[in-house]
């Protein structure tokens, strides 16, 4: 069942960005009163969702620069890619936010124990090798 769905995402995802799922919308007209209809999203809505993803991509660009110039560790890259912020990552890792801030610096990343590296890798769904040498060209999803 899962494979069928994935195919649907891929074919529908590239060509027609938001024609994936029809939703239920309510509307009101002075004469007719309330009505319901099942339809795709209105184009205005798609604009504002696009805006948010554009911003995420912009932030990723900034982080890519910081990682390549050695000011941030790869964890910052993967965190931004998963749309997370520090407190949220701290929640997932069950650590304090200060420890995450330390791991985001290259110095802190170098001193990480294998056990914690594995935990990060499992959270981001990658191997430890990929965590140490991230593919920075790879874009969102």
């Amino acid at each position: 069942m899962d494979t069928v769905k994935e195919e649907k995402t891929e074919t529908g995802g590239e060509e027609q960005p938001y024609h994936y799922n029809r939703e239920l919308f309510y509307s009101f007209d002075k004469e007719k009163g309330y009505s319901q209809r099942v339809d795709y999203m209105i184009p205005e809505n798609q604009t504002i969702i696009r805006q948010q993803w554009d911003l995420v991509e912009e932030r990723l660009k900034g982080i890519r620069y910081l990682v390549t110039s050695g000011k941030r560790s790869p964890i910052a890259w993967y965190m931004e890619k998963a749309l997370m912020e520090i407190p949220m990552l701290a929640g997932y890792m069950e650590m304090s936010a200060w420890r995450i801030r330390w791991h985001i610096t290259p110095m802190g990343f170098k001193q990480l124990k294998p056990r914690i590296l594995e935990k990060y890798a499992a959270l981001f769904g990658i191997t430890v090798e990929a965590l140490k040498h991230p593919d920075l060209e790879n874009n969102l999803r």
Binding site: G13, Y20, L24, F25, I49, Q52
Partner: protein, 339 residues
């Protein structure tokens, strides 16, 4: 995992809002046809809060809905239904075991989940938003059958994915919260529940003594909206404006920040009580919702041309102020109606 197959005969109906849809479907499973707007209105889904000093996804926190699980809890309370809500499981295994036990007993179970790892969602919607609701109604091996009212058809999730979404982290983390109905009385006193629901919503929208909630919050936001381009520049102002629109029109609001659903509720209850005044408020709410729609159209144009906005922000702010006054009139009128 045991390969036993359980499939409860649960009817999936699409709905505008995830939680009221789930509530209405759960009631339907126990033989009470309560429409989605009714569940939404009785359970006080309508709300507004604007918290500028709390940033969610780099923008001020704006919410058009009540806290998670309020709709189910209040509608069950007001209708006198015996329901169980478990707020928190420490261990994911215990949470999944409780779900399995429920399914074996034939109880469809609602859960609060995060959207980010929901595999059936379109990729564009997979944000870290933890107030989504789904109902699980079946199990085959380690695949769970899920009814998500935003989707057209029932979906499936694997065991690992379900654990991941039930233990999503961040603001309003679900912590494996689940809820179900134990038993329902044969006759429901819908009229008194509607009365309680309306008075509570009126209280929450106009009378809470805190300036960032309800109609006052809306006015505050209108005032701030005018300042954004000067304070933050056009790029950021447009992103903040986009955040209002995203919360207003995004996935699972039924359009116009739930105002259409609430208007339908007022109309249905007006027909129930045979009360012309209530029907009039429903029309007023519909007009307010249309105004919200207009606001979205104009705002989205500003979001498209970010650095050169087509419309003035002060005009948008005035429009929001107008909407706030229109809404306030509705609540004031509702407050005066004696049911």
């Amino acid at each position: 995992m045991d390969p036993k197959k359980i499939l409860i005969n649960y009817a999936h109906h699409q709905a505008g809002h995830c939680e009221s849809g789930a509530t209405s479907n759960l009631f339907g499973f126990y033989g009470h046809d309560l429409s989605e707007p009714m569940a939404f209105g009785i359970g006080n889904g309508l709300y507004f809060s604007y918290i500028p000093f709390l940033k969610v996804q780099y923008a001020p926190m704006i919410s058009f809905r009540n806290l998670p699980n309020v709709v189910f809890k209040r509608s069950a309370d007001y209708l006198g239904i015996d329901a169980t809500i478990i707020k928190k499981f420490k261990e994911p295994k215990a949470a999944m075991l409780a779900l399995d036990r429920n399914l074996e007993k034939g109880i469809p179970t609602g859960m609060q989940v995060g959207c980010f790892n929901l595999t059936f969602f379109p990729p564009e919607y997979r944000m870290h938003y933890n107030m989504h609701n789904i109902v699980c109604f079946g199990k085959e091996g380690d695949i769970y059958h899920i009814s998500d009212t935003v989707m057209e058809t029932p979906q499936t999730l694997t065991y690992e994915d379900l654990v991941r979404v039930r233990y999503a982290k961040g603001p309003f983390a679900p912590n494996g919260k689940m809820y179900w109905i134990n038993s329902i009385p044969k006759e429901l006193d819908i009229k008194s529940a509607v009365k309680k629901g309306i008075s509570k919503t009126v209280y929450e929208m106009t009378k809470i003594p805190f300036p960032l909630i309800g109609v006052r919050g809306l006015r505050w936001m209108a005032k701030d909206l005018k300042k954004w381009p000067v304070k933050h520049g056009y790029e950021k102002a447009s992103f903040y404006l986009g955040q209002i629109l995203r919360m207003n029109e995004d996935f699972g609001t039924g359009g116009a920040g739930f105002r259409y659903i609430y208007g339908s509720f007022l109309k249905e209850s007006g027909e129930l009580f045979n009360n012309p005044e209530l029907l009039e408020t429903s029309d007023m709410m519909g007009k307010t919702a249309n105004k919200w729609r207009e606001f979205t159209y104009i705002g989205a144009r500003n979001c498209r041309n970010r650095s050169k906005p087509e419309e003035d922000y002060s005009m948008l702010g005035n429009m929001l102020g107008e909407i706030a006054s229109m809404e306030e009139n509705v609540y004031k009128k509702l407050d005066k109606i004696l049911l």
